[in-house]
């Protein structure tokens, strides 16, 4: 196996006495598209937030190309620029236009010139179909458009991997498709993606690996064919029976 981008070892997270993540182990290889599925409240989002250090893990290690990101001397800004994040609630900067949302972080964090940053931003906005709306403020566009712009913002940092935290859960049903299409194209382009999702079709058809979590633990970690076709753990099967309509 190649050198993993991210390796998580014995990760656990407690909020007070409530253990949300229990001894999580897995690694992310370049080019993998991993879907993390499971019922709400099993720690899927917390896992992503720990990987980006928006939450401090209680114990365990997270390695980025073999370097421990939790050791105090690590260049966190660089790491966060290289491992992007897309949020359920979009979190576009409300005071900036769509274009500036993609430009300002590049200039501040990667020290790119304005011309270079704008060129890169426009390229990615074009990719997600938002280049025409670059002068709009976040309050002036729809949820699906916001999420596509947020994806362009993450891409503008030239990340090695992007973490998606339930990117379509806050969207109206008719807007989910446009965001999933963008994500599908990204997956096809070879971007490494770690996606917490309730979209079972995405998990089954687009990702090349699926992690099923329950009560803060990884229950099963396998290819979508195995998880959706013939899961080894009964709990996975029970979950999928509830999630997927029978008539298929």
């Amino acid at each position: 196996m190649a050198d993993p981008i991210i390796r998580v070892e014995h990760l656990s997270k407690k909020f007070g006495t409530n253990e949300v993540l229990k001894d999580i182990n897995f690694s992310v290889q370049p080019g993998e598209v991993i879907s993390i599925i499971g019922v709400s409240g099993t720690g899927k989002s917390t896992l992503l937030r720990c990987i980006n250090l928006l939450e401090q893990p209680t114990s365990g290690n997270i390695y980025y190309h073999g370097t421990d990101i939790l050791s105090g001397h690590f260049d966190l800004a660089h790491y966060r620029a290289k491992v992007g994040m897309v949020f359920q609630s979009f979190n576009l900067f409300n005071n900036l236009t769509v274009l500036e949302n993609c430009v300002v972080p590049q200039m501040k964090v990667l020290k790119r010139s304005r011309e270079e940053a704008e060129k890169i931003a426009k390229d990615y906005l074009r990719k997600v179909g938002m280049v025409q709306y670059r002068n709009a403020k976040p309050s002036q566009i729809s949820g699906g458009q916001k999420q596509r712009a947020a994806i362009a913002r993450a891409l503008s940092m030239d990340p090695e991997a992007i973490l998606f935290d339930e990117p379509t859960s806050a969207l109206d049903p008719e807007l989910i498709g446009e965001v999933l299409d963008v994500m599908k194209n990204l997956a096809a382009s070879g971007l490494t993606m770690l996606v917490v999702t309730h979209e079972m079709n995405f998990a089954r058809d687009i990702s090349n690996r699926v992690i099923f979590m329950e009560s803060g633990e990884v229950v099963e970690d396998d290819t979508p064919e195995v998880i959706f076709g013939n899961p080894k753990v009964p709990r996975t099967r029970e979950f999928l029976n509830r999630m997927l309509p029978k008539e298929e």
Partner: protein
């Protein structure tokens, strides 16, 4: 000699208008400078007070920040908890007594109004900062931006926009409240009114004029501030651009 109220008003205005206008001007620029200083002080105080606590392992940083924050809380308590008029007396005569410092009246006024407004502004700004959605900070952090970069490019522009009505309010309050500076003999509008009314003992008439002048100043200000708010919001519409009309979209 004029007889009725309606004769006195133009008479007094004719005799004292240069003095009254000068007093109004003093009130206006003192409150403008005092509010501006207070705005900057409040902004800095609020920024420091919203720095997240560093981990206890970093002992020096942890304690320095803790002491600074405690000092700032004390500052806010003292200046919000005592009347501006009393602050003026204590600061002006205190400096004279202990530092043998006779500040020019204007400078002293600025220090007094600035510190007083700063205390209120600090809380106004803090409320503005915490009113900005936490997701904004998380997004900035997840992109690798530092605390300062997040503050200056994302949080403060939104926070300041949100508190602009309160900042305008403080300005208007200051136009009126600078009148208490007459206790240290600053010749602002109220003080000028006192001298003007003394000659003919026409208190009611002179202070009616003074009241109208205050009202004109404050209502004009409110209007200007409304306009600035609108400006800050930017255009309410945007143009859907064609794919490649990049170079000529100004």
């Amino acid at each position: 000699m004029p007889k009725t109220f309606w004769e006195w008003i133009p008479f007094l205005w004719k005799s004292y208008w240069p003095l009254l206008l000068k007093g109004a001007w003093t009130s206006l620029y003192l409150s403008f400078l005092g509010t501006s200083i207070g705005f900057i002080v409040g902004l800095l105080v609020a920024i420091v007070r919203t720095i997240p606590d560093p981990p206890k392992t970093k002992k020096v940083r942890y304690w320095v920040l803790k002491v600074v924050k405690a000092f700032l809380v004390a500052y806010i308590e003292v200046f919000r908890g005592t009347p501006l008029m009393v602050q003026a007396m204590v600061i002006y005569y205190g400096l004279m007594k202990f530092a043998s410092l006779r500040l020019p009246l204007i400078v002293a006024s600025m220090v007094i109004v600035g510190s007083n407004t700063g205390a209120y502004m600090a809380e106004i700004m803090r409320s503005g900062i915490i009113s900005v959605d936490k997701g904004q900070t998380e997004a900035a952090v997840s992109l690798g931006m530092t605390h300062w970069q997040t503050m200056s490019s994302v949080i403060l522009p939104q926070a300041i926009r949100n508190v602009l009505p309160s900042v305008g309010n403080e300005f208007v309050v200051n136009v009126k409240d600078t009148s208490v500076l007459n206790v240290i003999a600053v010749s602002e509008l109220y003080f000028v009114g006192k001298s003007a009314s003394g000659t003919y003992l026409k208190y009611f008439e002179v202070y009616t004029i003074v009241a109208v002048m205050y009202l004109i100043m404050t209502s004009t200000l409110s209007r200007i501030l409304k306009h600035i708010e609108k400006k800050m919001d930017g255009p309410s519409e945007y143009e859907v651009l064609k794919e490649e009309e990049d170079e000529n979209d100004g």
